[in-house]
Symmetry: C2
Subunit: 664 residues, 2 copies
């Protein structure tokens, strides 16, 4: 590849030699780990080198600089590309030891890039397509903050490297349609167009015309030789001048530089053996020891990084003199405004007095009405179910090409793309994203919810129509397994409030949970007020909402709309002389985090334990034991008015009473 390596050891290294440094580090790290992927990092090293030395705005000394460009490696398996770049440009987060310890316990270089684990990684990637979809959210947040704070205080690009797999995934469609609709021209996608996937040449599974596809979605598109530094630079310059999002097909050879293995579809993953590595080093003329970057090359990389960091100083000055500097910093730090909850607290106090009956989705809407006007960072939306999700608050305007300052996003029927975009907004900072769809369609956005939980970021998913209470729409629209399925997910708060008070308390807890995404699981149908007193009890996850009149014989556990069923049953049992208590469980995860004494007191020691939830039983045993009574679903639902369904599926006060009495 470069025969000028020797001269560069004294002179300024050529761009190709700088790219070779990425290639050699990538290939040797994978070789040492005996796992990972060198194909993409080697193939895209030239494009990445041009980008990171001439275009990307970043500062290795300040990885969190608010107005840096965002760089997302959507093809996350090629993680050695970003680790190499971070190391070469002087990020402290990735030492040569980390590169040597690629994919080992405790290193800064896990198999796929992990946000929060390694400074300079903007987004956890690996599940294909999602980096791209997340980047759309970053670009949305950028335009929003640009509009909100003015003075081009926020004015940066979002760059994505995506592979064939990313573009095959369905979420890429949602992402590019949304970006095209919103004309996010600061978003630039560099597609590693190498025609290779794991099973062989990509055409065994894909023959579509990607440029035409992106163009149809409203993108500016171009193809470029991904190994010609001059042409790459020209293409990137062109990209920065478009009024639409940009996709550049970078024609590359997989494992570029790997001598005889260059271009070999089988060189995607760990497949280069000792002899291959030797041949590759020879082909590149790379003579330095393993895991050593010759000083002139390292210095050239660091000099380039310093050049790219130049705007940082001016920007710091701009922020200093900005009228809303403090608010900007607060928002970027993820802190809530002072008095964020004053209106909400008043609303809760009023609800405790008035005891309104309401659908919990309406209760959530009522809470939002007390939050959105006081927390400017909140940006809402819905996947085309605004009226049903109660996510829109009066006074909001639509986020649109003419109004990026708008705080309400019409995401379209794109649940997965929406959740991924929310992740991107949260990662970008300055925005607290929330959005709505039906609970059953959380299945569509589940992979993005998982990634948010893994990254530890705050997004709030409003999920209405939460059980057979959906009624006539029938089983395709009735979540029965979704509560359990999300309660299984680590670092996720699943809220299912019982009434107006709990809904408001749950919103408060969700907003305060800065490192955990939340689900607000809400009913279509109306329920009576359940809570009579007590301050912020939902924050404990579960609590006794009705005490027994004397030593309790029966405990009834329930969440959401079934708390009212439990309370009705309790009244009936008490009337029949059976001392009964009721525990409301709005958030199992917060309950799990309480101390053992509190948990034991809530679970109690009654001889009979009943759980009521219009969902499957999985997991309820932890409250009621393996011999407890479960009143709920054992199958999918059906299409009929919701009150008929509750009766037909036997989720009623009468069923609870009867089973509790039988057990006594």
């Amino acid at each position: 590849m470069s025969s000028d390596i020797l001269s560069t050891l004294t002179a300024k290294p050529s761009p190709t030699v700088m790219a070779d440094a990425v290639r050699v580090l990538s290939m040797e790290a994978v070789h040492r780990a005996k796992s990972g992927h060198q194909g993409m990092p080697m193939g895209m090293a030239d494009v990445a080198t041009v980008l990171w030395t001439k275009f990307l705005k970043y500062d290795p000394k300040a990885p969190d600089w608010a107005d840096r460009d965002r760089f997302v490696l959507s093809a996350g398996h090629g993680s050695m590309l970003i680790y190499s770049l971070l190391h070469l440009t002087g990020f402290k987060s990735v030492s040569m030891d980390d590169i040597k310890n690629f994919r080992q316990w405790g290193s800064a270089t896990p198999g796929h890039p992990e946000y929060g684990h390694t400074a300079g990684i903007e987004c956890t990637t690996g599940p294909l397509g999602q980096g791209l979809a997340t980047a759309v959210g970053m670009a949305m947040a950028e335009r929003h903050l640009n509009a909100r704070f003015g003075d081009d205080l926020v004015d940066h690009k979002t760059w994505v490297i995506a592979g064939d797999g990313c573009l095959m995934e369905g979420v890429s469609h949602e992402a590019i349609s949304l970006a095209g609709r919103l004309k996010l021209n600061k978003l630039i996608v560099l597609w590693d167009d190498n025609n290779v996937t794991i099973d062989g040449v990509a055409t065994i599974a894909e023959t579509g015309d990607q440029l035409a596809r992106f163009k149809a979605a409203g993108w500016a598109v171009k193809a470029v030789d991904g190994h010609d530094h001059g042409k790459i630079a020209a293409a990137l310059r062109w990209a920065t001048q478009q009024s639409k999002p940009v996709m550049i097909a970078c024609k590359t050879k997989i494992s570029k530089g790997a001598g005889p293995k260059e271009g070999d579809p089988h060189s995607h993953g760990y497949t280069l053996f000792d002899s291959d590595i030797e041949l590759a080093r020879k082909a590149m003329g790379w003579e330095a020891e393993s895991f050593t970057v010759p000083s002139p090359i390292k210095k050239a990389w660091e000099a380039a990084a310093r050049r790219q960091a130049r705007p940082h100083k001016d920007w710091d000055a701009k922020l200093k003199s900005h009228a809303h500097a403090a608010d900007f910093k607060r928002a970027m730090n993820g802190e809530l405004p002072a008095n964020a909850f004053d209106a909400l607290d008043a609303h809760i106090a009023q609800a405790l007095e008035i005891k309104p009956a309401d659908a919990t989705r309406s209760a959530s809407g009522a809470a939002l009405a007390q939050l959105v006007p006081h927390i400017d960072d909140m940006v809402g939306g819905s996947a085309d179910l605004t009226g049903s999700n109660n996510t829109f608050v009066k006074g909001m305007t639509a986020y649109d090409t003419e109004n990026y300052g708008g705080r309400y996003v019409h995401y379209g029927v794109r649940e997965f793309g929406m959740s991924a975009a929310m992740n991107g907004m949260a990662l970008h900072g300055g925005v607290i994203p929330y959005s709505g769809t039906f609970f059953v369609f959380s299945d569509y956005s589940r992979p993005a919810i998982r990634l948010g939980a893994l990254m530890g970021i705050r997004t709030i998913n409003v999920l209405t129509h939460d059980s057979i209470g959906v009624g006539e729409d029938g089983p395709t629209h009735q979540p029965v397994e979704h509560l359990a399925s999300f309660r299984a997910m680590p670092n996720l708060l699943v809220f299912r409030p019982a009434d107006v008070v709990e809904a408001a308390e749950c919103w408060k807890a969700a907003l305060k949970s800065t490192t955990t995404p939340s689900l607000m699981v809400l009913s279509r149908q109306k329920v009576p007020a359940a809570r009579e007193s007590g301050d912020n009890l939902s924050a404990k996850g579960a609590y006794e909402i009705r005490s027994a009149s004397s030593e309790a014989k029966v405990s009834i556990f329930a969440s959401g709309t079934e708390v009212s069923v439990a309370i009705a049953a309790q009244k009936e049992l008490e009337a029949q002389g059976v001392a009964t208590r009721v525990v409301s469980t709005p958030c199992w995860e917060l309950f799990d985090a309480q101390d053992a004494a509190y948990k034991a007191s809530v679970i109690g020691t009654t001889p009979v334990n009943v759980a009521v939830e219009a969902a499957v039983s999985l997991g309820w045993e932890k409250f009621i034991g393996k011999d407890g009574i479960f009143v709920g679903m054992t199958s999918f639902g059906a299409s009929a008015p919701q009150d008929v369904l509750y009766k037909q599926f036997g989720i009623t006060k009468e069923a609870v009473v009867e089973k509790a009495l039988a057990a006594l």
Copy 2:
């Protein structure tokens, strides 16, 4: 709309009047139910009328005729369209009473069309995009059986009506790319191009060029006035002559015929009140009583259906004389060939003797090698992870444009599209689809797996790399919550075999479960043989795999790769004088289906109960009680070699022994 209604009461009704019958039934059923959607059925009534009276091959008297055209209403919320058509054409499954009882308990007309519930419904739809993606699988199965049985015994089209929402969903991208790649020219998609979604005009969320998009994916495309019967017929005729899959944009007005509400974006769902209904009836000149179709109109519909059914007789004759008629009927009935399991049983017997150590994904591959050659109906594939999933069996050829008889599908990186296509193949009949991806990416295909469970069809999802045993790829690739999340889903068999014997037994059980999809959850890493004896024990879901030497003090429950951890711990405990038994739980759902006595015997009554699974604990309480000991995961995983991870996360023999001893 039609002023000629009176004349048609005696003469042959015009096509528009026939379409009006669909419109009136749809709007009145929704009105009566006070829920549902008349907008799409009224808008697409003209297109559907042309299709069902002139093109669709079907026989109301034989809804299961194997070579009928398949018709999929991907925009399932417009269910009254298909119910109206089924009723008008004379399907016995939908009576006028059913239409009156639209969306009521026990009717044949649930809110969204449900496969298996109402004859004539080819696919449960409602979750948008999936009808289209499922239809791709039907079209794939059609071409495959056409090639397999020859003589054009199977030679029919698959028609889809899709809405804006279907085309926004990401799965539509996977579906159309796959169909384009495979040149499925018998697949014809009719897009209800009415520019309306729930939140308003579709352009608030979508401005892409759908025709250009489909063209980029390799489809033939055309736009047509969706209310001009002549032009519709010409377009459909053109569609049947293409060498690629076809998409026709049918320009329609939502709620066509509804007088002043025609074209109103707010007329999508239940929004027509008494006065609107009256105005609509006037606009259409429809004077018949509610829920009455004038006899000439009904007769015209039935005559059309008889015309469309004409090829049925000839086809019956063709089948009768077909050399492989019996095999075809067997396959279409979903029955397995005689002796399907002979080779597998021999393989199991051999494994019980040899006791091979193996990764369970390899064990699954070994089982497949004993099944695929003997069950011609099995069509496999992978979402670009063939080598990792062990789904390919020697001798298979790729399903491709030149070889539709091939039994191995390169699905590309399209997990959701793949699972939906598998649903379509299973619905079509004659094919038993299986395919592979990593277990963690089951999140991507989850909505299709759910729909398969709801429809009660046999698909087999091979899901390898099933825990932190994935190792270096790290937490994005390590499923920890997925077992629980799928165990929560009704009518789904989640298999997690422990070794070669269990893997083979699980495959047998999965193939025998004709009305339930299965997941085969399999390890990347090697495990020792666990089973020593016993016949087909996995079919019971859970069983004692090691007995205690005397009255057991400890029970250890485990699944998959952790059974070997449990067995090692048992040995150690027994060596220390603690009588211990081990229960293997390869399939919780099959265990739940056993009788109470068997279940009690397996769960046992030991004072100490431990569960070991490299996953979260949710649900395990049903085996170990709320005070049981769980050795497993409480967080996401990490990137490191798998043996390091097992130690770091404390899922070891030592941990089990220590905790069991402490509890004693």
